[in-house]
């Protein structure tokens, strides 16, 4: 009887918490949807970049926050997504963004399955170094095989060539850039929402719980019958696919893909976004990615020594908020409501 009361009570509070979450998420989504109407197009573009990076960080954090694996090579999956789209547009002459997404995802899943198979045999620093090394293999390929990849010039992907929603929305004719900015913002927002919901379900599924168990205690996880390596591998592929999707969506926005997105400092940026937002919370990487994007843009605009400025700001933030922006905010809220 006692057990039953507890269950029902918790189920009720669980339901109430879920309702609160749903209301908050809907409010944020409505806010994001209305934003382009009140800000100038440049801000809309900036926010699009932020949302794209949020998808990348969300994927990355499935490994760091939920599985306890710190990857220093997520540029590989972002870059694979980006370059696959560039190849599809340049070499296959395809225009459909949906086709690019499917092709790009197939490419990233393939690469992350291959890299993940090697990397999940190790943990901690060995895992980190392996992911880093493998990502740099891809970078050097993109860098050296310039007749395929364009080398440091990269590959151009003109937005005007692309169509959205199976050809329903195209960007030909005058004023097309303005139309692209708005249409693409909503396109990215829709995919960001979808990605967030999917990731939320994954981390709250039995699989997600198993990953957290592996993170907490690998030995005990195997002694309750969980095949640790297999679960890590699946998590790795999902993580790579999310970051790959971000790379895919980033290309038309940037208009060009270069080896920079495969280079290790870019992996570092993804790590930083998650730490800045708070990698032990679900929303942390999203908030971290959007914030990082604004900080970086502001730093680049204000001084030639922007890396120095950005570095100092970020180090200060991490020292002041060790559990990240979201982690700290949650702690403050719980102290306030108690």
């Amino acid at each position: 009887m006692t057990a039953m009361t507890t269950t029902t009570a918790t189920a009720d509070t669980g339901g109430a918490a879920f309702l609160r979450l749903l209301i908050a998420a809907t409010a944020i989504l409505v806010g994001l949807a209305l934003l382009p109407a009140v800000v100038d197009p440049y801000q809309t573009v900036l926010l699009t970049y932020g949302l794209v990076m949020a998808i990348a960080a969300l994927g990355f954090n499935l490994l760091l926050g939920y599985t306890g694996l710190l990857s220093f090579g997520h540029s590989a999956y972002f870059g694979t997504g980006a370059y696959t789209v560039a190849f599809i547009v340049r070499d296959l002459g395809a225009h459909s963004m949906e086709l690019c997404i499917l092709g790009g995802l197939a490419g990233t899943v393939l690469v992350s399955a291959l890299f993940g198979f090697v990397c999940v045999r190790h943990t901690r620093i060995f895992f980190g170094i392996l992911t880093l090394a493998l990502s740099q293999v891809l970078w050097s390929l993109a860098f050296k095989f310039f007749w395929v990849t364009g080398g440091t010039d990269g590959i151009r992907v003109a937005y005007a060539k692309l169509t959205l929603l199976g050809g329903l929305v195209d960007f030909a004719g005058p004023g097309s850039f303005q139309r692209f900015v708005f249409a693409y913002y909503y396109y990215v927002l829709a995919l960001f929402t979808l990605a967030t919901v999917v990731m939320w379900v994954i981390v709250h599924s039995p699989f997600g719980k198993a990953l957290q168990a592996i993170r907490d205690n690998e030995t005990r996880a195997s002694f309750v019958g969980i095949s640790v390596r297999r679960h890590r591998w699946i998590a790795f592929v999902i993580s790579g696919a999310f970051t790959g999707l971000a790379g895919i969506l980033w290309v038309p926005l940037n208009g060009l893909t270069t080896p920079d997105v495969l280079y290790w400092p870019f992996s570092g940026e993804i790590v930083f976004m998650s730490v800045l937002g708070g990698f032990r919370t679900f929303a942390g990487p999203i908030v971290g990615a959007v914030t990082f994007n604004y900080l970086k843009t502001a730093a680049v605009a204000s001084t030639e020594y922007w890396q120095l400025l950005l570095g100092v700001v970020l180090v200060t933030l991490v020292l002041l908020l060790p559990s990240g922006i979201v982690g700290t905010a949650m702690r403050l809220v719980s102290r306030w409501t108690r």
Binding site: T2, T10, V201, P206, F223, S227, H231
Partner: protein, 262 residues
């Protein structure tokens, strides 16, 4: 009928003979205590049978099948589960999630990612029932790390029990808890284990606990089996008394525990 049989099982660490030629039969449904001084090889024996270590030589037969080379997960699926001497939990998950995870794993559901874990009413119901059996229902939503030592011990056992094993190894389930809590923990564990007819091998130091709860006692010394028998047989075995408490005589164990109580 024998559930587990080890034949000439060996595990050496350099010159240390942790498990030295152990041939032992565990029958279905019995509660066997494994006793012996520190370093006798009790935990090592559990570790080899549960695949924490691989055996150097010898054979492990479980339900008549050779499992000597099987992985940890394969042995868990076959029905061998264990708890740990040093509590081994998922510290950042709630007590409920710890148990639920073991059930999801047993049901082969840990790769399902399209539905929320807490929506699986069969699993959540069973997890709550298991927590209730171990007296942890009130701690359901607390993180494992924030539980008291005695509760952590019980949760560790509950995790292994939730796998519904055929054979359960309990490595010092009462170590590190107060003498007052010991009896209560062992009552809870023995009640659950006997109630479900689970075969259990308990590593234990406290001879009062051993004599009270065991069907059979196996005494180990320096990696090998020194003696085995019913509690009464072991109580009167002078060689065992000399090894375990350094005193012999017909009432050696009783006198010692009286002394300890006084």
């Amino acid at each position: 009928m024998s559930l587990l049989e080890t034949i000439h099982l060996k595990k050496y660490f350099g010159d240390t003979h942790a498990v030295d030629d152990v041939s032992l039969v565990i029958k279905e449904g019995e509660l066997v205590s494994l006793v012996g001084p520190n370093g006798a090889g009790k935990t090592s024996f559990c570790n080899v049978v549960s695949a924490y270590y691989t055996a150097d030589s010898g054979t492990i037969l479980f339900k008549g099948r050779d499992v000597t080379r099987d992985s940890v997960t394969a042995r868990v699926k076959a029905g061998i589960a264990r708890s740990f001497q040093l509590v081994n939990l998922f510290d950042d998950l709630t007590a409920f999630d710890n148990v639920a995870l073991a059930i999801f794993s047993r049901e082969g559901k840990t790769r399902s990612m399209a539905a929320l874990a807490r929506r699986d009413s069969a699993v959540t119901g069973e997890a709550d029932a298991v927590l209730g059996q171990f007296g942890l229902a009130g701690k359901r939503n607390e993180l494992a790390r924030s539980l008291a030592q005695g509760e952590r011990k019980l949760l560790d056992v509950a995790l292994a029990y939730a796998l519904r094993p055929k054979l359960l190894f309990l490595d010092e389930p009462t170590s590190g808890v107060s003498t007052r809590d010991k009896g209560q923990i062992m009552d809870t564990i023995a009640g659950v284990v006997r109630g479900e007819g689970i075969t259990a091998v308990v590593v234990e130091h406290d001879m009062d606990v051993v004599f009270t709860y065991s069907d059979r006692i196996v005494v180990m010394h320096q990696g090998a089996i020194l003696a085995k028998g019913t509690p009464d047989e072991i109580r009167t075995n002078e060689e065992v008394a000399m090894t375990l408490i350094g005193a012999a005589g017909p009432d050696a164990f009783t006198q010692r525990s009286d002394h300890a109580r006084g």
